[in-house]
């Protein structure tokens, strides 16, 4: 299309404009994100597990019972039968 040097100049301009735009968008959207989360998901104070929310079907005590039973059945092998074992073994 054009000689390399002027093409390099276009690349320089487009490149730096793009990088600045992207990082500006990252900064802006990051700030928006923080504000939205602050408003709609404010801190959940005491929380040891890093998981957002537990599957609500199981009450903790029942879960403990199940886990105990499973461990008994499998003679304490820990992981039980499938990927999903990880979910509730933490």
């Amino acid at each position: 299309m054009s000689d390399p040097t002027s093409q390099a100049f276009v690349i320089l301009l487009v490149g730096m404009i793009t990088i600045f735009s992207i990082l500006a968008l990252v900064v802006i959207s990051g700030n928006v994100l923080i504000r939205l989360v602050n408003r709609y998901f404010p801190a959940t104070p005491v929380r040891t597990s890093p998981v957002l929310r537990k599957e609500p079907t199981f009450s903790p005590s029942t879960l403990a019972a199940i886990v105990a039973t499973v461990e008994w059945v499998t003679a304490g092998k820990g992981h039980i039968t499938s990927i999903q074992a990880v979910e509730n073994n933490k």
């Binding site: 276009v10 301009l13 487009v14 404009i17 793009t18 998981v51 957002l52 929310r53 537990k54 599957e55 079907t57 199981f58 029942t62 019972a65 199940i66 039973t69 499973v70 059945v73 499998t74 003679a75 092998k77 992981h79 039980i80 039968t81 499938s82 990927i83 999903q84 074992a85 990880v86 979910e87 509730n88």
Partner: protein
């Protein structure tokens, strides 16, 4: 002006405006990420699938999987050069049918056949609960799918992710995305679906059947005196039977049983077990998820077929569960020793979630009725059942 034109052409904005469906695809991938992360629906698969979908739906990124017609004739190197790394990964690892068997090897390396061996008889109900796979065939044919597509839809009723993906790759690869999503979503929804079907099919009296008491009333099981040796021999024997009778299920079941063998052989094959259940399985899961996600662009996903698959998949699940329950009821008619029909419901597989749910349901009606270990027996056998079903389908239609 030229500069802005340059920038605009580089972005995916033009393509977005031309294909508004893409925005919907982004929304769907956000929805799947929400289900996977916040709701914890099978996150190990749904998170990569959703992110793969997100990346695939920006055309300039070269991250969406193309059809075989579009890439025809290209070797691996040219494929990567022209269509990017997702197509390379998809055609090298997924389309070749490699990853599902590798993941099955890992599943085997994490599976304990102990509960099944302790209640072998219950394994039988893992057969009945595959009926959804085959009954949905007819409905799918009726609404316009061809036989191969119908079979891929039906296998969702096997409630086993790698099996569904493997079958679909062989029979109807263009439906891989929606079928994988339906399969994993319904597996994640088992805590909702099983209680629903149970409510319509089981009586209060049946829910109260206590397996342990029945065992005390009618003690007839052979005790296992040397579980370790039995566990080592079991995958070898089962492998031989299956390979003899349904060879087309060998890539799946053979690898599952191999994984189980190197687990049960103990410390002497610990290195292999670690690789099978760890690095190989985890890496395979990442690549499988990303690639399956990358097959779903607005063109391939936003159509009536996808909706029908979502609907049909649910039917397949429901019929399978009902089939398992029905089989137990039939058995109870003929036998003095009663079985809780929940044991049939878990026969569809979705290990171990289905067993947990069945246990939960039973405990709700009788807090002393722990039937988890019984449920695991039919639950695990359901994995074998659907892999055999896949073998039959591939053998007839592949």
């Amino acid at each position: 002006m030229d500069l802005i034109q340059n920038i605009y052409e580089m972005t995916a904005l033009g393509e977005l405006i031309d294909a508004p469906g893409t925005v919907l695809m982004l929304a769907i991938s956000f929805g799947l990420l929400y289900l996977g992360i916040a709701k914890q629906y099978e996150p190990l698969l749904l998170v990569p699938i959703a992110f793969g979908m997100l990346l695939a739906n920006f055309p300039g990124g070269n991250m969406s999987v193309l059809t075989e017609e579009q890439i025809q004739g290209l070797g691996m190197l040219d494929l990567a050069k022209e269509h990017g790394i997702m197509n390379l990964l998809y055609y090298a690892l997924i389309k070749t049918g490699l990853l599902p068997p590798l993941i099955f090897m890992g599943v085997g390396a994490l599976t304990d056949f102990g509960p099944m061996l302790r209640n072998l008889r219950l394994a039988f109900f893992g057969a009945a609960a595959q009926i959804g796979i085959f009954t949905v065939l007819f409905g799918a044919l009726a609404v316009g799918f061809d036989l191969k597509e119908a079979a891929s839809l039906g296998i969702i009723g096997g409630a086993d992710g790698p099996t569904a993906i493997y079958t679909t790759i062989q029979l109807a690869p263009h439906l891989l995305g929606p079928i994988a999503i339906a399969a994993y979503s319904y597996m994640a929804l088992v805590p909702v679906i099983i209680p629903l079907i149970v409510r319509f099919t089981m009586t209060k009296q049946e829910l109260l059947i206590n397996m342990k008491e029945q065992d005390k009333l009618f003690p007839n099981k052979t005790p296992i005196r040397n579980l370790r040796v039995v566990k080592i021999l079991f995958p070898i024997v089962v492998g031989t039977i299956v390979a003899l009778l349904v060879p087309s299920s060998v890539p799946l079941l053979g690898m599952l049983l191999f994984g189980n063998l190197i687990k049960e052989a103990g410390s002497i094959t610990e290195r292999l077990h670690k690789a099978a259940s760890g690095s190989i399985m985890n890496a395979s899961t990442i690549f499988l998820g990303l690639c399956v996600g990358a097959t779903m662009t607005s063109v391939t996903f936003l159509n009536q077929q996808t909706l029908l698959i979502i609907l049909g998949g649910f039917l397949a699940f429901a019929i399978s569960i009902a089939g398992g329950i029905g089989a137990v009821k039939l058995y109870n008619l003929l036998s003095k020793k009663k079985i809780n029909p929940l044991i049939g419901a878990t026969g569809l597989s979705a290990v171990p979630m289905a067993s947990r749910v069945a246990n939960e349901v039973a405990l709700k009606h009788d807090p002393s009725n722990h039937l988890l270990q019984y449920a695991m027996a039919s639950n695990i056998s359901g994995v074998i059942g659907s892999a055999v079903a896949a073998g039959v389908l591939i053998s007839f239609l592949g």
